[in-house]
Symmetry: C2
């Protein structure tokens, strides 16, 4: 059987899945991106993990890679603030020394958007944005039914739109980007800011804490946890009202860990978005959740690059 | 000879030009948009001005219209804040009662972008933005070589991206949009804010004043006038750094009255833009001026809709 490897490189985890011709993830593994000492060892880890997945009766016909700041045109990761390896990382070229099959690379968020378009909730949409909420905040944009790369392959860095000038410090070194308000660390900062107002919350004293734990407590009714996602939703909603003025998408899909808060995030997001929306855009933009599991979407999207 | 009428509806002026098959404006006229008492009379004025232009030996084969908030899909102007007529204006349908030829309508800024792409400085660009700086601030966006309409025909309202939250009141009723910082009125507000710091300026006491007068004084060396465009350039530069994170265009073209300030606007704009640019985008985005005259670009662009 012919198989494709979809590689989802994240700031925290690197996930590799084998995808069948029918578009199913048939086998997968993962490792911590930061567990490798340098870029060369990281490439070797990808090679080993791919080889470990492919059975003797299978033929690897392509490798598609999604990575933060991954550039489709150059096949490299360039200055990704959340990656443990810095500078210019020639991933496509490095993997080509180990495999003779077709290899392509793009932005991890672009890959998620391609996965959503091919296999998920965006099948019937020509104008939409996928926002990934995780270690970073990324985005993949479809316009006129096509993925938007921009002139240099770097379009769609909506996590680095300055939404609150002079605001929180971002991993990119600038202030007020959307990312530090809506990524994992941003949610924790919002928690710290709100803690003093909720002395009775069950979240006090929990160490270490992460967005999933806060989400669990929110669903269990903790008012501080609920307030954290309400505030995060407001930040996102304000940003989305601005995003609409660019491309007037039919929908924005939320993807990644933070979005597991579900309606506790979505409803305040929509309320704040509509409050700040230019009149011609009001009550038009759908805010939906990805219909793919976090693991599968990025792998399928990456695989679709060479599918 | 077969001719096309290009109609450029603005908040202040409505300009109508006849365009030859080779893409030249061969004859044109204009009237004040606000000089008509209502929408019906406004339509009749357009009809009369078109008929007055067409000679007996010419055949009118199409009418292309650019208008603020003009919607290509509906053929109507919808809730344009700077238009003297309010609400939903069915321009295409209304003109169809008077002409049997092909009629299309789009956003005035989209029309300017189409003009720039077909006849101007953007001929060789597939990813670019045209920003129109006039009574309002509009934009036309090309992505992958196609004009971006969005799912509802309203994409590209970059004058209504909230760049400075809580800032100046915009004609749309919200605060902090780019428009009140970079349109005619915004330049005058910046002038008023800077006046006290420049007591010796030759601009004090000039009434009425407009952007063209300030531009003339700036080119003559008046330090207040220069400071006005420096500050306006900074506002635009900060916004452009954010625009880059969406579509990573190859160039942004400045069009309209305010852009006549030339380098006095462009250099501070570029400096502020690069200071606020995400590292992966630095020193990539060209900021250029439209190569079409203000009159011709919108007329040619509108005409291109049916050309």
């Amino acid at each position: 059987m012919k198989v494709i490897a979809g590689v989802d490189i994240g700031g925290t985890n690197t996930k590799i899945g084998l995808v069948s011709p029918e578009g199913r993830v048939i086998r997968y593994n993962r490792f911590k991106t930061g567990s490798l000492p340098n870029f060369e060892q990281f490439i070797l880890a990808i090679v080993e993990h791919i080889n470990a997945l492919v059975l003797p009766n299978e033929e690897l016909v392509g490798i598609g890679i999604g990575a933060p700041n991954g550039n489709f045109y150059s096949g490299s990761v360039e200055h990704a603030p959340n990656m443990p390896f810095k500078g210019f990382l020639p991933i496509k070229e490095s993997l080509k020394k180990h495999f003779s099959c077709h290899i392509e690379l793009t932005n991890d968020a672009n890959a998620a958007a391609m996965g959503e378009k091919l296999y998920g909730a965006a099948k019937d949409y020509n104008d939409f944005i996928v926002i990934t909420l995780g270690t970073g905040v990324g985005s993949g944009i479809y316009c006129n039914g096509q993925l938007v790369y921009g002139h240099d392959g770097f379009a769609g860095e909506l996590g680095h739109v300055i939404v609150f000038p002079g605001g929180r410090l971002c991993g990119c070194g600038r202030r007020g980007c959307l990312e530090p308000y809506a990524n994992q660390r941003g949610v924790l900062q919002t928690l710290e800011e709100l803690k003093p107002s909720f002395p009775e919350s069950s979240l006090h004293g929990i160490e270490p804490i992460n967005a999933k734990i806060i989400s669990d407590h929110a669903h269990a009714g903790d008012t501080l946890a609920i307030a954290v996602f309400e505030q995060t939703g407001k930040y996102l909603g304000f940003a989305f009202a601005n995003f609409m003025a660019f491309l007037s998408p039919k929908a924005i899909f939320l993807f990644g860990g933070i979005s597991r808060a579900g309606e506790l995030l979505r409803q305040p997001l929509i309320d704040e978005m509509e409050r700040n929306m230019l009149n011609i855009y009001q009550n038009k933009l759908e805010v939906r959740f990805s219909e793919l599991s976090d693991d599968d979407a990025a792998i399928l999207g990456a695989a679709a690059l060479v599918g």
